[in-house]
């Protein structure tokens, strides 16, 4: 449990464990193309942010 209030887009590109590069499924590879700045909103509550606007890029890639 993070002690921080989370800001920004909850689905931004990130690496977790050895999951960075490989697509979880071939069909999701296209999601690697960044969206048109969907992450401008700032969230201060730490509440989950809907991923539908972002394409769930983190989940789409793994290494």
């Amino acid at each position: 449990m993070s002690p921080f209030a989370m800001l920004g887009d909850a689905d931004a590109l990130a690496c977790e464990g050895d999951s960075c590069l490989l697509p979880a499924a071939v069909a999701t590879v296209g999601a690697l193309t960044p969206p048109d700045a969907p992450a401008a909103s700032v969230h201060t509550t730490g509440a989950p942010v809907p991923s539908s606007t972002v394409g769930a890029q983190e989940a789409a890639v793994s290494r």
């Binding site: 989370m6 920004g8 990130a14 690496c15």
Partner: protein
């Protein structure tokens, strides 16, 4: 953006919640990152973009995070070989995926070259970053290592190669070799990792603003900028003045 790279870090001193600043000043940003993390380099660029547009001063300190600590120092083969062999993916699929990542990097001005990338263990590179931090050169060393790994196909796992890269940013080659061979900063790396664990950080890049706000991943510059402005506003309200109005220092 200033380089908070002296030997004593408030963030590394304790795994307890960091204290908020008493008065307005540079916004402290602690970044957990790994060298072998494509989104960390992309995120670094996006954050720098935001910091350049931010009307205030930002103080950055990097912290160690190993994504794949069991990676051998020397892996024979390129990125396609590694992924195809270890993940069982068809080479063509790997190449297509890498092309996408390379394209995203290119959008922020980074010329990733996965065909020349050397897979390696990054624990020595992290030790080097602590060595550089103690000499006020952590940001320069971070940039040098990321470029060496993702753009230039340099090896960032071997002591001699790391010492060569360190010399390029002004560190003493032989001193670096001695520090890395003796694991002088291994405890510092482990302390960063333990703090990340205590904070619940499971992915990188992870940015912590003023020990209070967390930002995960390679966010759009607008997201970083908005977060910096929010923190600046809160600091100004707390101190009754303007936080870091002296301008941006990079």
């Amino acid at each position: 953006m200033t380089d908070t790279t002296d030997a004593s870090s408030a963030m590394s001193a304790s795994a307890s919640a960091p204290a908020l600043p008493a008065a307005a000043g540079p916004i402290k940003v602690d970044v957990w990152s790994d060298i072998a993390c494509p989104w960390c380099y992309i995120g670094k660029r996006k954050f720098e973009d935001a910091a350049a547009r931010f009307d205030g001063e930002v103080e950055v300190e990097y912290h160690s995070f190993e994504l794949s600590p069991d990676t051998p120092v020397d892996f024979e083969g390129d990125e396609v070989d590694f992924l195809a062999t270890h993940k069982g993916m068809p080479a063509e699929q790997v190449r297509g995926m890498l092309d996408h990542v390379t394209g995203i990097a290119a959008e922020v001005g980074l010329a990733y070259d996965f065909s020349s990338l050397h897979h390696t263990n990054t624990v020595k590179a992290h030790q080097l970053l602590h060595f550089a931090k103690a000499r006020g050169l952590q940001l320069a060393m971070t940039e040098r290592l990321l470029a060496a790994y993702f753009v230039e196909g340099r090896h960032v796992g071997r002591v001699d190669d790391l010492a060569d890269l360190a010399a390029e940013v002004g560190l003493d080659h032989d001193e670096v070799v001695a520090a890395l061979e003796s694991d002088r900063h291994l405890a510092d790396v482990r302390a960063d990792q333990q703090q990340a664990q205590a904070f619940g950080i499971t992915g990188v890049p992870f940015f912590v603003l003023e020990g209070k706000y967390g930002i995960s991943g390679a966010q759009a510059p607008e997201a970083f900028l908005g977060a910096l402005q929010q923190v600046q506003g809160e600091l100004a309200a707390t101190s009754g003045g303007s936080a870091g109005a002296a301008g941006v220092a990079r």
